[in-house]
């Protein structure tokens, strides 16, 4: 298994964003107070990450988890509301 840590911050203030909806191939977690959502995933596959928070531009990426280990995925969300 591999550990994928997704850390979500506001792109303007760089502060961590808690309670953000993070989805990795259908598995859903919310970020903690530190802005991190951690997933344990089988290695040797690609995954689609979707990060959603209504006040911010959606963030979607496909990443490759080649082998076991810990992966860090920073996410900076842009403000999308007036």
């Amino acid at each position: 298994m591999a550990r994928l840590n997704i850390k979500v911050v506001d792109s303007y203030s760089k502060t961590a964003l808690p309670y953000v909806h993070v989805e990795v191939d259908g598995r859903v977690l919310s970020t903690g107070l530190d802005g991190v959502a951690a997933f344990d995933l089988p290695a040797g596959a690609s995954y689609t990450i979707k990060v959603r928070q209504v006040a911010y531009r959606p963030w979607t990426r496909i990443i490759q988890i080649a082998q076991e280990g810990t992966y860090e995925q920073p996410v900076e969300l842009e403000k999308a509301i007036y």
Binding site: K50, V54, R57, E78, K79, A80, I81, Y82
Partner: protein, 298 residues
């Protein structure tokens, strides 16, 4: 003859760059139907500008940040371009805030209660859309928002809101049909839904934007420098400077310092380039500290 519309568009704090571009298009729409336009953008989309120019308007349009009880202007931290306490300055006017968050919750009702003909805005957040690899959602946003503004200028306010909702619904249907192959369609569907479902008309839904068939405006204010030029007249300059500086001090010492350095420099630049009349230049030198030093009197 009084100018007929006042259009304010902050441009610095994300995502107001998008609403600023939108307001360029809205300004063109207003001029296409021969409505006179006074436009202020960036730092000049300020509380001071609103109070000086609002009393003679028939239509007020704002695109930028807001909250339940106030239109923010460029300063999203103090957020006081127009507050509930100022509601009476919109008497007999039509007020349109789009895109702007939440202002129809408290500010809108207060403005209508104080005598405005109608207020159009959202009770909840309003979202921007962005172009993504799979689809140009931002283009859709421009399209449905400009559909709304065309209706504002030609139909009743109630019909304009209905047109807004219909235009958004078409895009929501499009996004829904592409949930499987457009990776960001889900968010854009809900963003559009939020924009659609919470947008309301308060006051008289039969109200229409009045027009007198006046000649096209000669006042073009599309940015900081051009906007600055329009402010240089004997009646307003002293008040502008005093109010602006006072509010900047309430914002932060850094802001005040930046303003104290930037405003004289920009004013001096405008004088040097010949954008101001001789009389306006003399007033600027006399009233704004530092301008005379930047542009020595010959």
């Amino acid at each position: 003859m009084p100018e007929e519309s006042l259009l304010l568009s902050p441009a610095l704090f994300p995502p107001t760059q998008l609403s600023y571009v939108l307001m360029n298009k809205v300004e063109a729409l207003l001029k296409d139907v021969d409505l006179r336009v006074v436009r202020f953008s960036g730092l000049l989309a300020s509380r001071e500008t609103a109070f000086i120019y609002l009393p003679e308007r028939k239509l007020f349009i704002y695109g930028g940040h807001g909250r339940r009880d106030a239109i923010c202007g460029e300063n999203v931290f103090s957020c006081n371009l127009v507050t509930v306490a100022d509601a009476s300055i919109f008497k007999d006017q039509i007020v349109v805030a789009n895109p702007t968050c939440e202002v129809a919750a408290e500010l809108g009702p207060a403005i209508v209660e104080a005598g405005a003909k109608a207020f159009l805005g959202s009770t909840e957040n309003m979202c921007a859309h962005f172009n993504e690899a799979e689809h140009n959602y931002m283009d859709d946003w421009f399209d449905y928002t400009l559909t709304f503004y065309r209706s504002v200028l030609s139909k009743t306010m109630g019909e304009a809101v209905e047109d807004w909702k219909s235009a958004i619904t078409r895009y929501m249907d499009l996004y829904k049909s592409h949930l499987d192959d457009w990776p960001n369609a889900d968010w854009n569907y809900f963003a559009a839904k939020m924009n659609r479902d919470n947008f309301v008309v308060l006051g008289d839904p039969q109200a229409m934007v009045p027009r007198t068939g006046s000649e096209p405006t000669t006042l073009k204010q599309m940015g900081l420098l051009e906007g600055l030029s329009s402010l240089f007249n004997p009646e307003t300059l002293r008040k502008q400077w005093q109010h602006a500086f006072r509010s900047l001090f309430s914002f932060s010492v850094v802001g005040a310092t930046v303003a104290a350095l930037a405003v004289p420099a920009v004013a001096g630049f405008a004088i040097e380039r010949g954008w101001l009349t001789g009389e306006q230049a003399e007033i600027a030198k006399a009233v704004i500290p530092g301008v005379a030093a930047v542009i020595p009197t010959p």
